[in-house]
Symmetry: C2
Subunit: 397 residues, 2 copies
Amino acid sequence: MINEKMFELGSKRSAIRDLFEYAKERGAQIGAENVFDFSIGNPSVPAPDCVKEAILDLVAHGDPVALHGYTSAQGDPQVRAAMAAHLSGHCATQIGAEDMYMTCGAAASLTISLGALVCPGDQVIVFAPFFPEYRVFIEAAGAECVVIPPREPELAPDLEALRAALNDNTKAVILNSPNNPSGVVYSEETIRALCGILRQAQEEFSHPIYLISDEPYRELVYDGAQVPCVLDFYDNTLICYSFSKSLSLPGERIGYIAVSPRAADNRRIYAAVCGAGRALGYVCAPSLMQQVAARCVGKTADISVYRRNRDRLCAALKEYGYSFARPDGAFYLFVKALEPDASAFCERAKRHELLLVPSDSFGCPGYVRIACCVRPDMIERALPAFRALAQEYGVIE
Amino acid sequence: MINEKMFELGSKRSAIRDLFEYAKERGAQIGAENVFDFSIGNPSVPAPDCVKEAILDLVAHGDPVALHGYTSAQGDPQVRAAMAAHLSGHCATQIGAEDMYMTCGAAASLTISLGALVCPGDQVIVFAPFFPEYRVFIEAAGAECVVIPPREPELAPDLEALRAALNDNTKAVILNSPNNPSGVVYSEETIRALCGILRQAQEEFSHPIYLISDEPYRELVYDGAQVPCVLDFYDNTLICYSFSKSLSLPGERIGYIAVSPRAADNRRIYAAVCGAGRALGYVCAPSLMQQVAARCVGKTADISVYRRNRDRLCAALKEYGYSFARPDGAFYLFVKALEPDASAFCERAKRHELLLVPSDSFGCPGYVRIACCVRPDMIERALPAFRALAQEYGVIE
């Protein structure tokens, strides 16, 4: 008599959650330092000092009624202006406060954007590998999730497959670069080509096709990699952003949606975003954290730790015979499993106390995701296990 | 090509929002001190000291990675234990941490509870007068909103009308005491009778009917009024709570759902709550505010201000010939309009610079809502206007 779909979503533990529980149990048996848990995608570095300073100052000197009070549903006007100014610095497109809608983090940005756009019978396209919750959010909004397998080995979007998948029911395409789980950053060339295909399809099918760009890892790039501003390449774009990774605030649930000022129907889309936020129960984004985000926008946690971890892991895994696309962003490595069945491979890795996430739920079988947002000393202790695992498969001697 | 229903929800300004904008404009014309805005339901007293102390201590001395990190989706275990212990003190029923699910405030508590329970074709019953967003949330979950008009003049639930409205499609009944907009607190006798009717209907229709008790005003009661614990009277109950009013933290979005441990299928309901939270994009309740709520649970802002405001307004309005049910809780007065059309009455009140909310959107025509959570000096300045308005209608000389 309850909603069975929701029961299923709430009771079916994800592979990542299973590993999380296993790590705790196994750690209790053999000592936490002997379990090499690469499953978690949580920032491991603290928020920048700016966050602490902002909170202490706001709470010590702010008016508590205003500080903890409702903001307007779309967010405090000055906070939105600060967000718009910062995003306008990253883009050639100039974004106004009236285009910004503050949210309770990236997941809320996505469910609200999808709620605003999706009508019954719609399809939403995602590129594998993709964050598994995309499917949950797309289906909850009432659309069908259409998966485009990647070009391998570089794990870039397969644009020919995209062209073939677009049809009269396509409402939106979700882009996620830097990518979770692969860490791949899509090049400007790829973005340009992809947007060209979408423009063609809009004309062919005579209706808008929206690009939803999910960018929680936008600032987490290495070696000078550039994340192009998608707003500059395609008019019907919504950017979904979160401060979870850039400011190491994943629990605080603070982010935004930017509706492109160049979108046809920009005001109608923005109103629908407000309506979807209302229908889903998001009254406003957390008020104190809105102010904190406005003061700290543009700053980042010390992401050099993730780069060093990536470099160390990439060098060692390459030496041991593993293959992967070297990630330019985010904090993951997406590594080819040493046998076709990634789950079976992860089970064998477990015997070496290595906890890796099989890639099946990312829509891209045959890989494992390795989180680089871990303590460097754990990586050092884990490397012999990665080597032994490769030896077991005969990849190295 | 966007979702028209969401566009409508986002672009159709509510009566309250309209008045908010009008108050700003009018204040600019004649001076803010000459506009008597009784439309807003925002706490006007600051959060108790405990909130400031908790934030400063947590931020100064806590581990920032853990403090701002993801909690489990249902909330930090110790926070949930603190909530369960406090609620168990209010109820005869003993609630465990495993029955508690932390949310981003009351609206999220409601959308998640409804999402967990509602199946296509379901009806959800509300008692007028009711918070207008109930209809939005019920319809967003895919159910039909069935409104039961009140018994007048006491504005209590009409239990005979409830009995007649229950049918095979009834999934849930929403209860809201202390009530927004009337301030009425339902008596234990009323709760007992209502629960008896629901139990009968469960038997008659051979399926569970859930009671969703929305209790953001639970602590805001005056003159020793008691708010019975609904869990003690009906097994299939979910309590939706928020700290917005009790701790004056409406912008911070922190609350909880308590699933009755006595509910048939308690574990399945709880799992469906987790699933609905996931599908709606609620990853976890804001992490810092979870800790703050755990430290301050049981404390309240200085609600004596609301009581004094209520007393002053009730005495004066009675003297001027207005009629209303004297509120025992919340911070509203629900006053009979002096003509049948509440909107027309509010327009005439506006000419006296009195901003009142007409009751039509509360499902109960012919009344106005007057917020008592305002500055006492504004009440003093406004009383002559209330008198003049009554004189205009010939209620007094």
